[in-house]
């Protein structure tokens, strides 16, 4: 039997990983109560918003332990979500059989999942180019334009990686990303003759569109989490505005400079 403080910590840590990699808040709440149930604490109340986790765990004598955690940075990491869900499933199976592992073992596994990254960084950057190039083809670009879109996608992925190190907010990240897409495309246009920029820029923009925010917003709202649902919907709207503002201002600046 592990103590109530340790259970709370384990639940918070697993929910933090899910929320930071872009999971829905409903899933975080479920995961937290399941982790507590594995260790025999069946009475839990939790409340999750996209920026914070709150949990109260009660034991049989009605002594409660409440903790909250602030979530600052969020990025898309779907692999981590599915891995953690799978691990929690395993854990519940162990809990049903009555041989659940102790605190340090679970904490070690959680840290392992959090630090795990299955692909090298250069592969992800190259595939960013692939995504952008394929969207360029999808929206009717020629083969030459697709090649240019690959270069643009690659360069934007690299620059987004360096912008992420600065830890600026998501509005500025997306605005800068969209501005850089237009800048790279326009610069390459100076050297390569006979390309139309529309499909190339759209291919780049598809790297940034808020697909995750839209999905999570609706799924949260439908499971009854109105607070996080509206928060995510506003996030999706803000990201779209950021993309439009970034690409638009760079287009305008470029035409003012006069190339």
């Amino acid at each position: 039997m592990i103590s109530i403080k340790e259970v709370t910590e384990l639940a918070l840590e697993s929910a933090r990983i899910i929320l930071q990699s872009g999971g829905t808040t409903n899933r975080c709440e479920k995961i937290m109560s399941r982790v507590c149930a594995v260790f025999g604490y069946h009475k839990t109340e939790s409340f999750v918003t996209p920026t914070g986790l709150f949990i109260t765990v009660m034991d049989k004598d009605h002594t409660a332990n409440t903790q909250l955690m602030r979530i600052e940075t969020r990025r898309i990491d779907l692999g981590k979500i599915s891995q953690l869900t799978r691990y929690i499933n395993e854990l519940s199976q162990c809990g049903k059989k009555g041989n659940c592992p102790d605190y340090s073992e679970v904490m070690r596994r959680l840290k392992e999942i959090d630090a795990f990254s299955p692909y090298p960084e250069w592969l992800k950057l190259l595939l960013g180019g692939l995504t952008s190039a394929c969207f360029c083809l999808l929206f009717g670009g020629s083969w030459l334009e697709t090649g240019v879109a690959y270069l643009v996608g690659l360069m934007v992925s690299i620059s987004l990686r360096y912008i992420a190190i600065l830890q600026v907010n998501s509005f500025l990240t997306n605005a800068l990303g969209a501005a850089l897409i237009v800048l790279f495309a326009k610069t390459l246009d100076l050297y390569i003759i006979g390309i139309k920029l529309d499909t190339i820029i759209i291919g780049g923009i598809m790297l940034l569109v808020p697909g995750l925010a839209i999905t999570n917003a609706m799924r949260d709202m439908m499971s009854g989490d109105l607070v996080s649902g509206t928060a995510r919907a506003i996030e999706a709207f803000l990201i779209s505005v950021a993309i439009a503002a970034g690409s638009g201002s760079m287009l305008k600046i470029w035409s003012l400079v006069g190339y």
């Binding site: 979500i81 599915s82 595939l127 692939l130 995504t131 394929c134 969207f135 923009i205 569109v209 638009g248």
Partner: protein
């Protein structure tokens, strides 16, 4: 363009390949990469096919979102993956990134009529995608509740 010809197949392949890239960039592993890529390709193929028959972009987006979300709800539990992982990857080709760009460009060209109509269309498509996701996820919740009661 007729549905089910080589051009639709090509478009399906491009959509699937781009979602393949997206899935690896977000650290997915193993067989689920191929299934999410298939979902992305299917969503675009459904969109094109229903666009051919209905001639209405909004209805096609709705049909495609509903079909592809049902696909995710069916496939994801078999691989012990959260459904939202599949849905996120599958709807990305439908998200109106091109509408966003054309709105901005029409606005910069001082063409207010086109800018406002493009903007309205972009917002409507985004809203339609949300409604499709909402319909499927609430119906699935209902089905799960009924199955548990029985």
């Amino acid at each position: 363009m007729r549905p089910f010809d080589s051009l639709t197949l090509m478009q399906f392949l491009w959509a699937a390949l781009s979602i393949f890239g997206f899935a690896i960039r977000t650290n997915l592993k193993g067989f689920s990469i191929l299934l999410t890529a298939l979902g992305g390709g299917l969503s675009w193929a459904f969109y094109l096919i229903s666009l051919y028959y209905t001639k209405s972009p909004l209805l096609s987006v709705l049909i495609s979102t509903i079909l592809v979300c049902s696909y995710s709800e069916l496939v994801a539990p078999r691989f012990k993956t959260p459904v939202s992982v599949f849905v996120i990857c599958a709807i990305i080709p439908l998200v109106p990134g091109s509408g966003l760009y054309y709105t901005m460009r029409a606005y910069l060209d001082q063409n207010m009529t086109e800018a406002s109509s493009r903007m309205l269309q972009t917002l409507m498509i985004a809203g339609t995608i949300s409604i499709g996701i909402a319909i499927v996820s609430s119906v699935t919740n209902l089905i799960h509740r009924v199955m548990n009661k029985l």
